[in-house]
Symmetry: C7
Subunit: 97 residues, 7 copies
């Protein structure tokens, strides 16, 4: 079963906490500030709709490693696996090797 996000939404697979600290070297400081989380883009919507009815293309693509706010998105399970659905604007940026 495949999930296709609508509009400017993306489907994100959150990285395990262990991954965050070892693989990517990202350590989230223990403060009261919103803490970003890491994940991989699994699917992207077609993009938001412009005033003239055409699409604004998405800036992220399948496979992108991204950071996003801890409280961004809606949790879903597809075929037993957990994912997040969020708007592209909730994504802070991409990680590149």
């Amino acid at each position: 079963m495949k999930f296709k996000p609508l509009g400017d939404r993306v489907l994100v697979k959150r990285s395990a906490e262990g991954d965050q600290k070892s693989a990517g070297g990202i350590i989230i400081p223990d403060t009261a500030k919103e803490k970003p989380q890491r994940g991989e883009i699994i699917a992207v919507g077609p993009g938001g709709t412009k005033d003239d009815g055409t699409l604004i293309p998405m800036n992220v693509k399948k496979g992108d490693q991204v950071l996003f706010g801890k409280y961004s998105g809606t949790e879903i399970k597809l075929d037993g696996e957990e994912f997040l659905i969020m708007r592209e604007d909730d994504i802070l940026g991409t990680l590149q090797k």
Copy 2:
């Protein structure tokens, strides 16, 4: 009796909870986050109105299996059956086999 949604609204038939767990493999995790729900699009409105008065076409169509937020939409009964009326923007995405 047939219901025709106005503007960018859709009429959705919510899937039974049993269906959600067996048929589609969607299991909603037991957290404090907003939990999406599954349903089928029964009818779609003509679309929202652009600034120049023409329509922005809808991105979902009759028969689409969709996910939406638990608290999205307004419940109605038509000919004894329960439905939800919501705006297209409340739909997170579509499920495809």
Copy 3:
């Protein structure tokens, strides 16, 4: 005496509760959610105003059977009869036989 709604407003004659259950088969479930109500469009305004000053035509017309939110609109009495004035956007959709 005739009432002409201004802008994108409509004048609605709410259906009696008895009508809602027998004639149209609409039964409103007893939940905490907003419950839609049924009525008939009695008069429609010319439509909202576009940025260039021309009108966005209305999508409902006199005689339409419509559903709307329970708390939508302003109650008025014209020649002893009760009506509701609401904006077109408060109308969820139309019922067709």
Copy 4:
């Protein structure tokens, strides 16, 4: 002394409560909902300003019998007589014989 409303504002002479019940047949139900009131348009502004700086013409004119929300507008006295200044958008519609 003459008052000229600015922008999309109108000057309204509220009808006496007695008028409302006898002449126009409008009786305001005793509920918690916002209750519309009746009045006559005494003067209208030139209209709101479009993005390109030209005017959006007004939809009401001097002499129109109108309904408006009970809490709409600002009360003023001109030459000893009470009036209301409100925006055109606060007017629900017009009454025609």
Copy 5:
């Protein structure tokens, strides 16, 4: 010393309360509603800025007798005299003899 308002602001000299009751015949009713006040336009800004960067011209001019809300504007003193700076949109209308 001369004050030049910026954007769509105006400099207003509030009329004395005595003036309001005798000269213009304006008496402000003693209710809980916002009460308009009278004044004279002393200086006007060039106007607000349109989306394309040009100016939306002002609708009031130096010398206009205007009504405005009691709590509109910011009080300043220039050369010992009290004035109000407010946006043109805070002005309800003009008084003409």
Copy 6:
């Protein structure tokens, strides 16, 4: 070290309270209303960005004597001297001799 404001921001050197009362003749009345303050524009940003990506030019320039709300802007110290950074829209107007 030179500070260059971004977008439609300006760098302002607040006038000493003594200056306000003697030089310019501005005396701020002792009321509960927001009290404007006087200062000099030290640097201006390039201007806000229009929808088409070009700049909306600034209406104030280096050296302008301006009035602004007491609580406008962010305080900074550059090379030991105190300044305010604020948006051009926070400036009420300019003073000219």
Copy 7:
């Protein structure tokens, strides 16, 4: 590992407090007002999206010394080093020698 900000976001390396006071001569006054902080732009996003889908170019670039509000941005750690991700609009201005 390299982080690429999305949209109109920037990656900022905050200057140490010691740097702020000695090198740049910036001393933040001890008041209740929001206090700006200094940092260096490490990476910039492609820019925000215009209504027609093209990009609004960024006004800051890699290497710029900037001031920003104390509570702006989201803290992240990349390869053990702390950074801030914020929107370009959160940047008050740039410092030039």
